[in-house]
Symmetry: C2
Subunit: 159 residues, 2 copies
């Protein structure tokens, strides 16, 4: 089970936004600098988060990104869905591979297929449901709180 850097980068950017005084846009450059990651890459991520209504953007001088919802309303599941999702849900179908020459026997293939399908589906669904549930329970607010309690360092906010 892997947590992509994309999603963690995205969530880190959101934490940065949430930690900033409300209603004041923060530029990509600023976030990138504070979080020590590539401007160009972060741009992509924030763009997608904006398209899905997680953040809002303001253009021009003094512009930047702002949270579009309350931190309690944004979950890790949301971020992952927006940034990692889209393309492949990886399963859902095609899970039992073509098996090029494994099932050489034509006869009796049907029953096996159903059996394999059923187990594959069950395994996937049980795991997926549980994980989705816990990811949905981690909110941006939780993370902000954790950050505050975690270290004592006041995060040096100026500019």
């Amino acid at each position: 089970m892997k947590l992509s850097t994309r999603s963690t980068y995205g969530m880190r950017a959101l934490v940065e936004l949430a930690l900033t005084a409300r209603h004041r846009p923060v530029s990509v450059a600023s976030i990138a600098k504070r979080q020590e990651l590539s401007v160009a890459y972060l741009e992509q991520l924030l763009h997608r988060l904006r398209q899905q209504g997680v953040v809002g953007s303001i253009r021009g001088p003094r512009g930047g990104y702002v949270l579009a919802k309350d931190p309690e309303q944004i979950t890790m599941a949301d971020v992952i869905r927006v940034l990692d999702g889209e393309n492949g849900e990886t399963m859902g179908k095609g899970s039992t591979n073509g098996s090029s020459r494994v099932g050489a026997s034509r006869a009796a293939g049907r029953a096996h297929h159903r059996h394999a399908q059923r187990i594959a589906h069950t395994v996937w669904r049980c795991v997926h449901d549980r994980v989705a549930e816990s990811l949905g329970a981690v909110t941006l607010q939780d993370l902000c709180n954790a950050v505050r309690t975690d270290g004592e360092d006041p995060p040096d906010h100026r500019f």
Copy 2:
């Protein structure tokens, strides 16, 4: 968040073992056939599961693999750790990238670094803990039960 096919293949094989009458070894070929996946690949997976004490093996004719623990004692977290783990925990360190020319300003880099590190670590740990928790709660036994209840479809017995 992605569930690798490796781990689902592995878990499917374990379900297959659990569903078989206990104490009777099942050959890789047999599992591969029933689950419709490549023998050679499955061999790798079962090999690693054996090294980590999840299954046991019996060599020679009539040999095969057997569960080494009760189905309640084997969780999805175990399988994932054995099959996907090892190499990259993906985070833990190095999460804040080199940022070639982003941090052009040499001064004040330290404080930023600490700040970035702290948030990165917090985000990662919160999410990881939750997910690990839910994966640890899904046992092989649960999956077997789900498979039994899931499909009422009598699997089309004619062959």
